[in-house]
Symmetry: D2
């Protein structure tokens, strides 16, 4: 099986803000990616193989796994503050209970297809056990955190093609800097608003007066009804209809959203960030469909919580909620997640999957034209 990684931006695609979107108000980081948060690493393993009729267990394969690491060290020994939030719970996310209780993340995050969640979680454990021989012998166990979307419209999802070795490959490939988007990693076979979806990322930088912190988002997009799609200030759904090669899936998919920041936030504050991701979903057109597993995971890289603490106190300081911080962080979350979703749409290329199911890439030219036709941002006269 070929398990190639997408190498760079396809010639016909671009990131969302290159379309001329001007409604965002907060500056992105250097790469406009979750990796703009210092220390954060991302890796993908993309599995694309075969074509034609579905042979369950054989193919075609259109899937993969994406991993996000809060830092390059041993996460079990040096945990980070974290929170989770379930926007709509029709999904199979793993590891949420322990994060709710302890407020800590102790392993890399992984995003994959629905039926591979447990293999991927087990593979993350394999990775953590290898790093930490004392787990399960002289200390507690480890909590992998994995979330998923259903790529079964394109992918032989019953085949559960993501294997342990693929997860280890993804973990071995993590890096900082620009992040591949679109049909890559866990996003390989995803669908968003009837178009080809996938992985997208973005970031925002806070003003120095409120700490100058960075907030990054990475999404695996697989949600939305075509008629509802919004691109920034545009309701484009009624103007653009994706070609339909087969009846659409019964459920409208799902989305996984990961948030990273170096702002010194605790679990309660991170959970508040998570809840704002729903605003970004709405801005792109979601109505939080019944069958959609919409999950958010956030972590702060600002402090490491040692597994073997040397004192009974946590070092360092936290941000206050008021008066300014959350007024900057909440819009930053909304903008970063919105842009990450749009990036996943703008960067994904058309794909044919199982049973000749077809997902067209979101057409960028008409959107660019519609955006150009919008009135300029000069103030209207109010009568």
């Amino acid at each position: 099986m070929s398990t190639s990684s997408q190498a760079n931006t396809p010639p016909s695609r671009c990131r969302a803000r290159e379309l001329g979107l001007r409604h965002w108000t907060i500056a992105p980081g250097v790469n406009n990616a979750i990796t703009d948060v210092p220390g954060v690493l991302v890796g993908h393993k993309t599995l694309i193989d075969g074509s034609g009729r579905l042979l369950p267990g054989v193919g075609p394969v259109r899937t993969g796994v994406t991993v996000v690491c809060p830092h390059a060290g041993n996460l079990f020994l040096h945990k980070v503050a974290a929170a989770v939030h379930t926007i709509n719970g029709f999904g199979k996310a793993c590891g949420f209970e322990q994060i709710r209780e302890t407020g800590l993340l102790e392993s890399p995050l992984a995003l994959t297809n629905t039926l591979s969640v447990w293999t991927v979680a087990d593979a993350i454990v394999t990775h953590m056990l290898a790093q930490n021989p004392e787990i399960g012998v002289s200390t507690s166990t480890v909590n992998p955190v994995v979330a998923e979307c259903n790529d079964g419209f394109l992918n032989d999802i019953r085949g559960r093609h993501v294997q342990t070795s693929h997860v280890l490959d993804a973990l071995a490939s993590v890096r900082s800097g620009p992040v591949l988007e679109g049909n890559v990693g866990g996003g390989a076979g995803m669908t968003c608003f009837g178009w080809k979806g996938g992985i997208g990322t973005a970031s925002r930088c806070l003003p120095a007066a409120v700490g100058g912190y960075t907030l990054g988002a990475l999404v695996q997009s697989n949600f939305g009804r075509p008629q509802d799609l919004r691109i920034g200030p545009l309701l484009v759904g009624p103007f653009l209809t994706p070609p339909l090669s087969a009846p659409p899936p019964q459920n409208q998919g799902s989305v996984v959203i990961t948030l990273a920041t170096n702002a010194p936030l605790d679990a309660r504050q991170l959970e508040r960030l998570c809840r704002r991701a729903a605003v970004a979903l709405a801005r792109t057109g979601s109505v939080l469909d019944h069958g959609s597993g919409d999950f958010v995971i956030a972590f702060s890289t600002s402090r490491h919580f040692p597994h073997w603490p040397s004192t009974i106190h946590v070092p360092g300081e936290l941000l206050v909620d008021e008066p300014l911080i959350m007024s900057h962080l909440f819009p930053a979350v909304v903008e970063a997640v919105e842009e990450a979703i749009l990036n996943s749409l703008c960067m994904a290329e058309s794909m044919e999957g199982r049973d000749f199911h077809w997902r067209a890439a979101l057409p960028l030219a008409p959107i660019r034209r519609m955006l150009e036709a919008l009135p300029a941002d000069s103030k209207q006269e109010v009568d």
Copy 2:
């Protein structure tokens, strides 16, 4: 003190869809109001008195109370299924714990200003005690449900001007049919996206194939940053700046959303509806600000749960979640709440309040012009 009720639509105002909004896809009810749900009643008591400098405890007064009754009978004896949801909890809502536990509403809902919540709750109890002499003597007590927004920018909120008699007046005035909107009842002194906010309502009717049920919303709007305002497919915030007569309040306000339906839903399903209200907030531009108490309350009129049940079983039937119901109800919630918020903005008139603080009515003409300038809904050619 004058406590006049707003009599009808002001000449210069109109409801949101009269501006030419065409993005909604689900038909409203006869009055496009929460009262389209059979049996639901609404009453307002508006308190507007005085002007000029703030004399705390004296005035000026710009406040009131709005009540929503699921039916005209004795709610303590004939309860209805209900749910609540806290989108952002920076608020003083009363009565939520018991609804979460029992899934039942047993009193009228009330909406008012922040510092009058407890007086209003106590007044609702006065009303219920008068109806039910056995409460607290031979049976349990009663749980009033009241939520609030902060109208202190215009109103002498420290004065807590809403008195028991005002609540009883509002309860005595409940009616079906068209609902007054704008500067009325609990919405009298509210602010939304920097413009005058207040009470708004709307409804949606489901197709007969999924039961033909009605879903209604009523909101008390007091949230949002001016630059973020969206009107349907338009991002108008950058084009329309409200005049500023004083520094804006430190926190960005809040919103109370009530949902009513005659669909036979249980508490779990109603809670799912509540969560979709956040999508509507986002569609109008909210980022769920830090200091905003954003609360949702939903009830179903389909069945009455007797306080003194004659059998151990609940009569009647419930809707299944799948495959069709929630796919219709969720968009209905989003549309009804979005339209109710826009109605609160479009129907509210300009108001001067304490310390000559001024809230301009949302200017409708430029919005109408912008909407007319949008491209028609014909499909773009996809390249």
Copy 3:
């Protein structure tokens, strides 16, 4: 109306550990009271008036209010970390939503009867407005936190006899040192396991190796079925039947539990403490009855969060959860709450209330005899 305060321990009563209970393993503080947490203050206002037949709105009166202050200063300006937890939500607690969102308490806590919750909340606001003229004018509003139990078996609860002045009296009377227990303050008319209940308190001190912190509890007890009562290692319910002067209330009451500590915990950790209070309820025999509003509120006095922060950072440090802290704090919560409940039973005297309803004091002599008859704590031989 006479509103006398209970002056000291009645001759026939004693605190629970004086009965010979030896099963607790953690040392109490100096007064074995919530006030052992430095800075914490408690005040009561007890309302006992009239006798004989119930005249709703007139009497007999058997009720009151108890207030707990985390410190003697202005709580709005100097907030403390706090959390709430609902064990069973059939109750009317006020102020929980905002604590869940912000993790902060900004007013004294109050405990009272069910139908006086809103008057008491409003009175707390009156107190806070007087202290803080900027509330509602130049800054946000204030969130009172009040919880309740139903004393309607003895008290004319429909009369809502707790007035604003009574709450202000209770606030004016707060003090450190020993805390009055039994038929005092909000506990005046309460019933617990069919016996007279009321206010109880206790505390625990952690070893120096885990910080030497103090944990205190104060309860208003009004729950439990007679046959279920457990006193430490004894199941006494089957041996002791309270005299029954009237049919018992339909619902089995409720309980309010407040926890205070000087351990530097955040809201997430405090919420974890709250959840352990359910263990103490179970140890005294509760099955968390359907109609019981069982609420827990916890705060930490370790840090003050300024309303007007001068920096964007919170000063100071937090405790780690692991490895030792929670293993000491959780048992401390269980022991302190259990002992506080037993103290409320052991210190409350018999009382006649409305309609000649009678609640006997828990008989202490037979319990003392049963405890003395238990085998000594020497180890059994294991075969």
Copy 4:
């Protein structure tokens, strides 16, 4: 590897009530087991192999898997109402998010060791995919529900010895009637209050006047500090000290509790049942330790929810909460879970595990003697 199943009650062991416990007040079902709920099936696969020094990945093996099926049919096509509750979240339970959202269980439940959760979940999916060829092709995916405890004190938990075939064996072995307890299935290597723990079950039957429904519990016990153990009315922890062959694990373990009933309850009501399981934990001595993953899952067999509903309505009726039902069901939950835990302790035999770690069986004779020494249930004279 030998994977024998425990065949029957060991000669030296007995179920808890045979010790002379008389404090329970509700009658058990025929087998005093979760299988007393009509249709419920249980299966175990026990893996015991090797001895001596730990060779991670090799052994010794002391683990297994236990499965609980709400009915014998295809659970994906005929789902049942369900709820989950997290008492303390330091654990790795899978499948909770979807049950919280949909209120439905669509696969067998499984209980196993911590590091085998994901393999077991994946195996459950394998089983469901085989039954349902349309999953992932023409309809949605499936949500396995698996919970775990850490048996690493006795078992080579890093070896993740539970394989897909073992889970399929357990599923193939499900049956009604008596249920094996103690060192069986997922309970093979567990520890409870310092003694050998494992699987336990019990049931309770409601009076005919409240429907005559049955409530069953099955637990996998692995929690508690030795000094805290309570057996019914006895605090035995201070009298019985388990022999210690090695330092105890850092964390105090966890417990999984499953509840089944044929009472027609919805998800909200089932969640209320789940919360009462914490009372049973407390009655046996738990303080809900920091490191304990304490999870509860409940389902009702009363109605089947079709995956492909033929109408938009759910057939049948529900129980009201009041006035009687929950007053019977809540104590039934407490008693059944308490007895199930005690059964797990009374039925488990001593076991040597990895590194010669030893867990003694709870000694029954001294407990029987202590129970016999208790005063009879005649009423004390109250002075």
